[in-house]
Amino acid sequence: MACRLCEIACLVAHSKSKKIIKAYKEEFPNLTPRLIIEQKGPLSFAIQCRHCNDAPCVEACVTGAMKLDKRTGLVSHDREKCVGCWMCVMSCPFGVILMDTKEKKVATKCDLCADVGSPACVDACPNEALVYKESEKVKKIM
């Protein structure tokens, strides 16, 4: 229903303070949400990194900043390694790798809220449209 609560939760979860008022008042212009809300007619959804098993962004990354952890299934991105060549932006078929151009120009994407523990967008969704679950493939490996 495109309430955009996930977007707010994402921003706050990736702020320094992790507090909604502080994040919006002090950090907001420098925050990039890691998900995108799309709407067309009656259909709407929030879309963020799918953490693909054969991730095209990992294949395309020339620095090794984009990595797939085969054990957990997490596709992670290392800001310090990234040089902002945008090969990942070119490669992601979901279009969910964003460009953080506010300070150092680097790619940015969903990190499953590594800092917080569980994805804030999922916790914030009032309609349970966003679900966080382990994929069958990862379960098998673990």
């Binding site: 095209p56 020339v62 090794g64 902002g84 090969m87 990942c88 070119m90 078929p93 969910v96």
Partner: protein, 411 residues
């Protein structure tokens, strides 16, 4: 594969690394030997022209990658494959059960008077970049021949090193193989803010301190970078009687014409799914995927590589540029969105309902959605006029192609 078997890989860049990672995921014990000319391992080739990188950025994998993956290393130049051995320049003989050629590309050297001079360099390895850095101390003027991917990176590199750069390009625009006239002009204008750009011209003679151009003009040049392009390195394959067309010929399992010999990456020819013909597709992501396919098949798997298309992303003095597929072919309907003021130019070419090429300058956000649509051959006829609308996104990908996890049920 039996544990006594021995895998030998020639080359140590991305195709080789990807193959090693794939093999080691399934088998920790098979003997793997890498033969390489590169003394400095695991640096990322596309980044050799960047100065001021941290070691963390410069190296694609960490320095202990081979040790951690239990890989033997042989420094040397492989010359020929005879029966089941690779023979090196120093006459050393290395036996293999399965061999992978990941020898990459080699720079095209034009037949120009003076091209073998001490002041002429190519720029495809870290050694090249280091040699250029050393040579250009106290030098002032550089001429870069060719304004493609390597040419632009060379120009940025030498400008950062403090030299006065002139780029000479044979065609009427930069990146002529992938840009149309209009986008070529935008990029040319951007380049001209930073360096001299001479179009529709070529170098006919190189002297110690100057280049003479085709039209007789002379330009100062203490150093010349030859950046016309690269071709597949087929030297070893040709000497060894392995079939070569536009590159080393391989099947969809990355097998060459010689038994137990595989090849991947910039040295092979691959199926271009848009042109429906085999040709070199020398780009990083393709080398990575092919390396994984070869790695898997070398240890008895049945992975396939079904072809791809050329695509690239480059920052031209900070202006982002992405091209996908046949971006410079007048082969279909062109949907364009551009703003000179914002330095934005976006174009998608649609043929028989499908996207066959795209150009993005300035605004490259979500360009990957188009990469996905080209790969899946999605019919865009119904929404082609909305492609550059503000609401355009993954939501336009037809239901049957969308990931089920993104939109499980449509209401």
């Amino acid at each position: 594969m039996k544990s006594s078997e021995k895998i030998v890989i020639i080359g140590s860049s991305v195709a080789a690394i990807s193959a090693i990672e794939t093999i080691r995921e399934k088998n920790k014990n098979l003997l793997i030997t890498v033969i390489t000319k590169d003394k400095d391992l695991f640096y990322s080739r596309p980044l050799i022209s960047h100065i001021n990188l941290t070691d963390g950025q410069r190296y694609y994998r960490d320095k202990n990658f081979f040790r951690k993956n239990n890989v033997n290393l042989v420094f040397g130049e492989a010359i020929i494959v005879k029966n089941d051995s690779v023979i090196l320049k120093n006459r050393k003989n290395i036996k293999f059960s399965k061999l992978l050629l990941a020898v990459g590309g080699k720079p095209i050297i034009p037949d120009v008077k003076g091209i073998n001079g001490k002041n002429v360099f190519t720029l495809t390895t870290k050694v090249d970049a280091d040699n250029i850095k050393k040579f250009c101390k106290n030098k002032k003027h550089v001429v870069v021949i060719g304004c493609g991917m390597i040419g632009i990176k060379a120009a940025e590199f030498l400008k950062c090193l403090g030299l006065d750069v002139s780029i000479v390009e044979l065609m009427n625009r930069p990146f002529a193989s992938v840009l149309d006239d209009k986008s070529g002009k935008i990029i040319a204008d951007e380049i001209k803010k930073h360096t001299k750009l001479i179009l529709n011209n070529s170098v006919s003679e190189i002297k110690e301190n100057q280049c003479i151009l085709k039209n007789g003009e002379k330009i100062l040049a203490d150093i010349v970078i030859c950046a016309i392009g690269v071709v597949p390195n087929t030297d070893i394959a040709e000497k060894s009687g392995i079939k070569v067309n536009c590159g080393i010929a391989v099947d969809s399992q990355m097998r060459t014409s010689k038994k137990n010999v595989y090849a991947t990456g910039d040295c092979v020819e691959s199926l271009d799914i848009l042109k429906c013909e085999k040709r070199p597709l020398p780009i990083w992501p393709i080398a990575f995927r092919q390396g994984a396919v070869a790695g898997s098949n070398i240890i008895g798997g049945d992975a396939r590589y079904d072809g791809s298309f050329v695509r690239n992303s480059v920052n031209v003095f900070g202006l982002p540029l992405i091209t996908l597929g046949l971006s410079n072919e007048k082969a279909g309907e062109e949907i364009v969105n551009s703003s000179e003021k914002l330095k934005v130019y976006k174009k998608v070419i649609v043929k028989d309902g499908k996207i066959i090429g795209a150009i993005f300058i300035g605004d490259i956000s979500r360009a990957g959605i188009f990469t996905g649509m080209i790969k899946d051959g999605i019919d865009v006829s119904n929404f082609k006029n909305e492609i550059f609308s503000e609401n355009f996104g993954y939501i336009y990908v037809p239901k049957e192609f969308r990931s089920k996890e993104v939109v499980p049920i449509e209401i």
